[in-house]
C-alpha cells in the first residue's frame, strides 16, 4: 500500500498565511488526528489533502507522485466528509446513498453496506427531509462504507452524533484501518482512536502574518 505525505505546505487565506512549512506522513493502517484552535487551518489542510484546493507552496504526494498530476486517480481513492452532509431533502435515504455509491463505482450492495454500517436500515425509504441532524450526519458518513476507498478525510465527523453513532464510526474506522486504509480526521473532541498520531496545526501557525 502507498504512503500519503506532504511537506513544506503553506496555506494562505486572503493575504494572510494560515500555516507554513507544514509536513505530514500517513501510511497504511495509520490514523492522523489534526487539532488546533479555530482558524488554525484544519479544514483548509483537509481540503488541500482532498485536492479541492491547491497549496500556496509545498507539495502533497501519494506514493511520491504529486496528487495534482493525477487528480482523477486521487479523487478515486479519497472520500472526503466535510462540515456539510450533501443530503438532498427531496430524495429518500437510499436514493441519496445509492447515487453517491454508484457515482464512485460501488453497486447497490455498497449502498446497503453503508446503511447497515451506520444503523440506517430502518430509514432507507424515508425522505431525507424528515431526518434529524445526527441521522443526516450518519447518512453522510455512510458514504465511507458505501464506496470503499484507501484514504478517508473527515472534518469534525462526530458533530451531532449520539454515543451509539460515535461507536459505529470508531468501528468503521478500525475496520478501514485493518484493511490497510488510512484516515485523517480534523477534530477538537477526543474520540479515542488507539494508535492514532496527533498533528497540532499551531506548531506551524504563522504568528506574525503580514
Amino acid at each position: 500500500m502507498a504512503r500519503f505525505g506532504g511537506d513544506g505546505l503553506e496555506c494562505a487565506r486572503g493575504e494572510r498565511l494560515v500555516f507554513a512549512g507544514l509536513g505530514f506522513d500517513v501510511g497504511p493502517g495509520d490514523a492522523l488526528l489534526l487539532e488546533g484552535r479555530n482558524g488554525s487551518g484544519k479544514t483548509s489542510l483537509l481540503r488541500l489533502m482532498a485536492g479541492l484546493a491547491r497549496p500556496a507552496a509545498g507539495r502533497i504526494a501519494w506514493d511520491g507522485a504529486d496528487i495534482g498530476d493525477d487528480a482523477e486517480g486521487h479523487r478515486a481513492r479519497t472520500r472526503y466528509i466535510g462540515h456539510l452532509d450533501a443530503v438532498k431533502p427531496q430524495l429518500s435515504v437510499i436514493e441519496n446513498l445509492s447515487f453517491w455509491a454508484a457515482l464512485h463505482g460501488g453497486g447497490a450492495a455498497g449502498a446497503q453496506a453503508g446503511l447497515t454500517a451506520f444503523g440506517l436500515d430502518t430509514l432507507a425509504r424515508a425522505p431525507a427531509r424528515y431526518l434529524s441532524a445526527g441521522q443526516r450526519r450518519r447518512l453522510a458518513l455512510a458514504r465511507l462504507a458505501a464506496a470503499p476507498a484507501a484514504l478517508w478525510l473527515m472534518d469534525e465527523p462526530t458533530i451531532a452524533l449520539d454515543r451509539a453513532s460515535i461507536a459505529a464510526l470508531i468501528a468503521a474506522i478500525a475496520a478501514h484501518r485493518a484493511t490497510g486504509g488510512m484516515a485523517v480526521i480534523a477534530t477538537n473532541v477526543d474520540i479515542g482512536l488507539d494508535g492514532a498520531r496527533l498533528l497540532s496545526l499551531e506548531d506551524f501557525a504563522v504568528a506574525d502574518g503580514p
Partner: protein
Amino acid sequence: MDRMAEFLAMGNYGGYVWPTYILAAVILVGLAIQSRRWLRNEERAVRAMEAEAPHRRAAAASGSARGETAR
C-alpha cells in the same frame, strides 16, 4: 471681443461642443483626483497601523516580504 463670442458660439453648435469638453475634463480630472486621494488615504491607513504595532513592524515587513515572494 466678438472673436471670443464667435469662438464660444462654435457655429451655434456651442451647446454640444462645450459640454463634450467640459464632461471630458470633469471625468478625467475627477478620476485622477479620486485615485490620488484614495492612494493617500491608504498610505495614511498603513502608516497608522504600522505605528500602532511598531515592534512587530520588522517581523511584519520580513514576513510580508517572505509571504509576497514565496507566493
